[in-house]
Symmetry: C2
Subunit: 301 residues, 2 copies
Amino acid sequence: MSEIQYPLRTRAEEFFRKMQDEITAALEILDGGEKFFQETWERPGGGGGRTRIMQEGAIFEKAGVNFSAVHGESPESILNSEQKLTFFATGISLVLHPRSPKIPTVHANFRYFEQSNGQAWFGGGMDLTPYYLDEEDAVHFHRTLKTSCDKHDPFHYPRFKKWCDEYFFIKHRAETRGIGGIFFDNLSANDVREQGNVFAFVQDAAHSFLPAYIPIVEKHKDEHFTESEKHWQLLRRGRYVEFNLVYDRGTRFGLETNGRTESILMSLPTVARWEYDVHPAIGSPEVRLVEVLQHPREWAV
Amino acid sequence: MSEIQYPLRTRAEEFFRKMQDEITAALEILDGGEKFFQETWERPGGGGGRTRIMQEGAIFEKAGVNFSAVHGESPESILNSEQKLTFFATGISLVLHPRSPKIPTVHANFRYFEQSNGQAWFGGGMDLTPYYLDEEDAVHFHRTLKTSCDKHDPFHYPRFKKWCDEYFFIKHRAETRGIGGIFFDNLSANDVREQGNVFAFVQDAAHSFLPAYIPIVEKHKDEHFTESEKHWQLLRRGRYVEFNLVYDRGTRFGLETNGRTESILMSLPTVARWEYDVHPAIGSPEVRLVEVLQHPREWAV
């Protein structure tokens, strides 16, 4: 008794394209100063995308919201010539770097992947990277995500929260990139029941991005900050760069497989700093942040 | 009829330690404003090092000159439990980031490695990363290196110059990190004749660092620069960060094997920038630099 539907790949692509429109429209209203500009691009091997960037906004120093739908010879085939497969991948990926150190950086990514051998899956998540810890923000962000997860499976949030802490871990610093969120990958969408369930979950998770993040921006956007707080933000952004270039699988895979470099590296902040062996004063707000990055907490219990 | 000598590892360690002293002394005189501070550290698995850092000098925004001599279980044994070997490694590694965009960034590294299976080799090199191309500088730098190579083997310079262009290549940008220099690795030092020849070459190459670089600093240190030239420097430093974190084998190996993070990442500039898809004006000095990075030239012919 199922309705006649377009194939999952078409529905996923349409959904991610719409998400990009919704999110960039909301962020332009929020920022109030600057608009996104768009570059559409084509992938030589097949497909393409819409990269949307805002730079030097009133709130966002740099914001990138990418949509892509690409297809071609499977990456596995490129890296290992054994099997010849084709793939289709579509998704949305965003990173927002606010100007103020009082507003956290945020990243979200949702993607669908299928291969000519019949394998299909979703992946994604979102995570928050504050420069100063506001526990209320952390609770709000995680509770919003938990609510969207709980509608689908009570095990989703605990599992994906843990996965997020593990994934966004900067091994050589022995700390997480931020205070986490959710991360999931390889959520199978091979049969019809799985497809419906997983796609519905991914849609709800993606829809939770704006309600999870916007109130945090609204709360802090008019807060004063000092030169030394800005300085701390730039040092922490150095860690963000370290994670993305050293560990992030999407970034490294994209760079290794001739992805579109400018779209991949839109995730990097406008400015980052590195100084030798910085240790903020014991008991300072800077140290309180680092303690939480060294010992991830449960925020939505 | 050979003289009684200390083992190569001892002589190499002593040489690199002295080089650190010589180079930091010369750089302090050159800078005139700031001194190096030193941190000595011990490696939990065996050995240690002396990290010397200058920050916010008159000429050098950040300068790191590291010496280390470490030993323990071989990295191969750590990454692959098949064979249990011990190793000894000693070397000097330096990166100098000048404040002025008119003065190139420079990197040099010389190292000796031996393993309990009898394998021993030297590696190293140095390369120049200008923000604006000065052809006279490029010729001077390369000719100085060529002269020190030619004393040992006429094939050294052409081989190591090419190796350098290939090694310091940022694949995802399709450009080299800078205008090159020399790079060599696995120069065997297994038997007595090889040991003498290779160590003598490494000593000469290391001794060529100051004469290769200091005249370039002297020439440009009082040159005026504009805000927009500084801005270009910060964008190019972003590429330096990309190379070091994405490709540099020493950096990645160090981070993966629990090396001393702060000593490894002293190579990163104090400040770096990333903007979306920057294209300097056709015919500008910025574009002239990029053209050379895209098409490495012969500078010492």
